[in-house]
Symmetry: C2
Subunit: 390 residues, 2 copies
């Protein structure tokens, strides 16, 4: 499989970025709704594995979509705690990110999981201080004296991967339409081309109903809802709203990723992004909202706040002004994540629905197994039996 | 300890049911906010163990409060799966319910927990058909061929227990004020006496600030919120909204309680009440709302609906019109339950807060360990070391 610039310009696909560009349906074989990392990767692999299938990639926003989960995904690759059966697949994803998407910010970066108790494979946290001098500024090492290391871990920018996938897919012949809201209809997609008025309202400029024998629903947390609402298919998937607050403590390229009690501290842009654990789904109809800390409103949701408060003794920096709690929900970056199978541990998956539609879901493990799952769906549509990680 | 009618009428407490009855604070030693089963029982045990403490029991509504969790509690006593350390305590609760609160609808009733796999102590479900003829009308027995029995199980009406506790507490000298909303203040309680206008608005008729060295917060799921909001105390407790839909399949006094995959079918009033499992807390700010079943709105929340849909093969009756799904949330009885310690498995507990306040929490295990926990708090306030179950 070859990626990159080897295609000739004459084969490149068309891009409709705004409603000023007239659109006439040329007839597609596959429509991919959603140009996040799952949809964009699937479109790219479809071009490579099934170049005869005319492919259209759609997104309601721009590239990358600023309201999506991809742009806020932590971008942490680790094989630690992954079942043995998925290790080869995860390593293939690691190689893809490291070598194929050159501008994805791929950094090899040790992951340290800190523990109060000794476990198989742990070392003394204090023995790591010389190697990772930032450790003592973040961690109360007496309370977390043991650490497991993943020396193979790496960080990258999922938003950059999605963008690179979409760009390569276009160069290899896929069409792309942005600012295009997809509603599933039997046997295709209804597309509303959106535009912004001079009073900042988003309105529908025109609507097209596109038939396609195959529709890939890569709408993230909105995918199962669309399957149910538009197609009447009941699924067992769920979603959770995850906020990723900023911690203003300096980090550099040698800083490890830290994890304790499920909370991950991801070095990013000279500081840290906190990635809280997802304990379980949020209920249908939940509207994310801020919490209170001793009477003061915060932008962090209550449940996340409780997780952080419980960790303040072990990570004293969480109790300082370095943590950006915000004052209202809009102050703290957050996004809905799909939970494949309804569980926070559910791996990325695709699911055939009646009528030629396929759900493609990333979720909490998309950093590690997302690209391969998108590949797997493209390969199965192309009738390709082999997988490069097997 | 003696309960019942042995007290003389002259010692009975006073009741303020409506704002027409003038109230002058006589000075209380203990104020119990909330006359659900936990608060009412604690008031009663306080009269018995610490008769010198002048005690006031408050409730925002009537007796029993129709918006509270007590009146919808399943009232199922079972020692199955209870840790050994709690068995004696649970048996004491069973004896209390069976013998002390004569009108609480106590019925010995076998509990059958149905399983797809054989386990320690299971018997063949089919072998129980002769003894429990209703079984085959509810259960697809080939799918759930194994059953564990709790022959000691019993059902009762928690609302009737709460009412009996409050009545006995009054006869033994506790005062009671209804339609009285409690707000915690340092060193006491602010009480708003509520009345209903002729346009059906609830308004505050008058407000009293009552000092008391001891305040017991028995406000169910609202207790931790009151502790935090009124007193600024952060707690780790949580809550979940549980709906208990009706299943119109006939039952009688010989019908067992059935349980499968965490769902309980409780024979009640000639039919069944479904008691769905609580998987985890609901997030802060969640507003309960109905779901959809293949496009049709239901009063059952989405998460509960999914649990029932997953069980329809094994309990085919759930797929019939016998299940009252409702059309909007108000059609299905439901209430907020406190989750002590934040977990659905958290047992009833009391917790001392700064300034003489005590949280008293029931929650999902209150049917089995609620009365004893209320007793334990009353005994500790009375300086009594022994517990009748030890």
């Amino acid at each position: 499989m070859m990626l990159g610039m080897s295609e000739t310009a004459s084969k490149a696909g068309q891009v409709w970025a705004h409603v000023g560009q007239a659109f006439v349906d040329p007839g597609y074989d596959v429509i991919v709704a959603g140009a996040g990392r799952m949809g964009a990767a699937c479109a790219l692999y479809l071009r490579q594995l099934a170049p005869d299938l005319r492919t259209l990639l759609l997104d309601e926003g721009g590239l990358p979509n600023e309201d999506g989960a991809t742009i806020l995904a932590p971008g942490i690759w680790t094989g630690m705690d992954l079942p043995a059966a998925w290790q080869a697949e995860a390593l293939w994803v690691r190689t893809q990110v490291a070598t194929v998407f050159g501008d994805a910010g791929f950094d090899e970066r040790t992951l340290l999981e800190l523990h109060a108790q000794e476990m198989d494979g742990t070392v003394q946290t204090s023995s790591l201080q010389a190697r990772f001098p930032t450790l003592s500024t973040l961690v109360q090492m007496e309370g977390l004296p043991f650490a497991r290391l993943d020396p193979q871990a790496a960080t990258y920018r999922p938003g950059a991967v999605a963008l690179a996938c979409a760009q390569q897919a276009i160069r290899q012949g896929a069409d792309l339409m942005l600012n295009a809201r997809a509603t599933l209809v039997p046997g295709g997609v209804q597309v509303e081309r959106l535009t912004v008025t001079n009073t900042h309202q988003i309105i529908t400029h025109e609507t097209h109903v596109l038939s396609a024998p195959r529709v890939i629903i890569a709408l993230g947390a909105g995918g199962p809802y669309a399957a149910e609402h538009d197609l009447g298919v009941h699924t067992a998937h769920a979603r959770a709203y995850r906020q990723v607050p900023r911690l203003n403590v300096s980090s550099d390229s040698a800083s490890p990723v830290l994890r304790a009690s499920g909370l991950t501290l991801r070095p990013q842009a000279g500081g840290y992004t906190l990635v809280p654990p997802i304990h379980h789904r949020d209920p249908h109809g939940y509207v994310p909202q801020g919490g209170h800390l001793t009477g003061v409103p915060t932008g962090l949701r209550r449940e996340t706040l409780e997780d952080l408060v419980a960790l303040m003794d072990l990570l004293p920096v969480l109790g300082t002004g370095a943590l950006e709690l915000g004052r209202s929900i809009s102050d703290v970056p957050g996004a809905w994540l799909v939970l494949p199978g309804g569980s926070p541990g559910g791996r990325p998956q695709h699911q055939a629905l009646p009528g030629g539609a396929h759900l493609l879901l990333g979720g909490p493990l998309a950093d590690v197994l997302g690209l391969s799952t998108a590949y797997d769906l493209a390969a199965s549509m192309a009738g390709v039996q082999t997988r490069p990680w097997n």
